[in-house]
């Protein structure tokens, strides 16, 4: 593990062992390692800027602007952006975590039949994002009613 860390700090990048990448996913909740097999997420989470030597003008854009732009692409393009460069990888992962995991941008579907399009209609809006994390809509309370009742009784008892 230490060796892996050193490699990352030196910017050498991790080249093998998908398991390492998977373990690092807890560093940031926004990173979903299912999307990619292995990435030095520690490098991604660091706030250091990308290769400082020759930044293309696009990469020189402030990150928040880049993220905003990237949020506008669709899933296929997002995957491609991931492969463009480290800077884009970072941006696309953030965009994915903030935006794509919870909503799917509207996509023009190739339709065979005009009727099919009408049927699809609103389903575009609720189309599930690929690889979206499972979420339960209703937060399940960890406290059972019984436990709550016990606590409330105790409090009132003290006041008496």
């Amino acid at each position: 593990m230490a060796l892996v860390n050193n490699c990352e700090n030196l910017g050498l990048g991790i080249v093998r062992s998908t398991s390492f990448g998977r373990k690092r996913v807890t560093l940031s909740n926004t990173v979903d390692v299912d999307f990619i097999s292995t990435t030095p997420t520690k490098k991604i989470c660091s706030q250091n800027s990308f290769s400082a030597n020759e930044k293309s003008p696009l990469e020189a854009l402030p990150k928040d602007i880049l993220i905003r732009i990237v949020c506008g692409v669709d899933h296929d393009d997002l995957k491609k952006l991931f492969h463009v460069s480290r800077a884009f990888r970072e941006v696309s992962l953030i965009a994915k975590g903030w935006h794509f995991d919870f909503s799917t941008p509207r996509k023009t579907l190739p339709f065979r039949n005009a009727l099919e399009v009408e049927e699809l209609g609103d389903t575009d809006e609720v189309e599930e994002a690929p690889n979206a994390p499972m979420q339960s809509k209703i937060a399940r309370s960890r406290l059972s009613r019984k436990k709550l009742a016990d606590i409330s009784v105790a409090l009132f008892a003290l006041d008496d």
């Binding site: 050498l12 990048g13 991790i14 080249v15 093998r16 999307f35 990619i36 097999s37 292995t38 990435t39 030095p40 990308f50 290769s51 020759e54 293309s56 003008p57 696009l58 990469e59 020189a60 854009l61 402030p62 602007i65 905003r68 732009i69 506008g72 692409v73 669709d74 393009d77 491609k80 952006l81 492969h83 463009v84 460069s85 480290r86 800077a87 884009f88 990888r89």
Partner: protein
């Protein structure tokens, strides 16, 4: 015409210019800056360079024109952005983000978006002159 209030602005590279207040207030940044104190003809410094500001004003002027149709605006926008080099476009994106003009900001970002969509990673790299610093085996399936 009527007493149009004028505002003097000073760019990052020291150029001063005068603009109608109403037009300048398309930028929330400028609007908020002026609401905090009385200007008295002191130029308001803005963190934009003159070349980029010229483009912004060109856009504002067109979009402030009375009686202009949606189609004409669309055509203008198309031409306007087509003439920009990538570096000019990015400068514009940054400047407009700073100036906080939502309309122009969205338009400019969309332009960048258009250049990205539907392209392969290598094509994107070529257009924007990006170095591929991803390690090959770190790329997943």
């Amino acid at each position: 015409m009527s007493s149009e209030k004028l505002l003097t602005l000073k760019t990052r590279d020291g150029e001063e210019f005068v603009l109608e207040e109403a037009m300048a207030f398309r930028s929330l940044t400028i609007k908020n800056a002026t609401s905090n104190y009385t200007i008295n003809n002191t130029p308001l410094p803005i963190n934009v360079e003159i070349n980029t500001m010229i483009k912004v004003i060109e856009y504002w002027k067109k979009h402030s024109e009375r009686g202009i149709s949606e189609d004409e605006l669309m055509n203008f926008d198309k031409k306007f952005f087509k003439l920009l080099h990538n570096s000019e476009l990015f400068d514009l994106v940054v400047a407009v983000d700073y100036l906080a003009d939502k309309g122009l900001s969205n338009a400019a970002c969309e332009q960048v978006l258009d250049k990205i969509t539907g392209k392969t990673p290598q094509e994107i790299r070529d257009i924007f002159n990006i170095n591929n610093d991803c390690t090959p085996t770190s790329l997943g399936g």
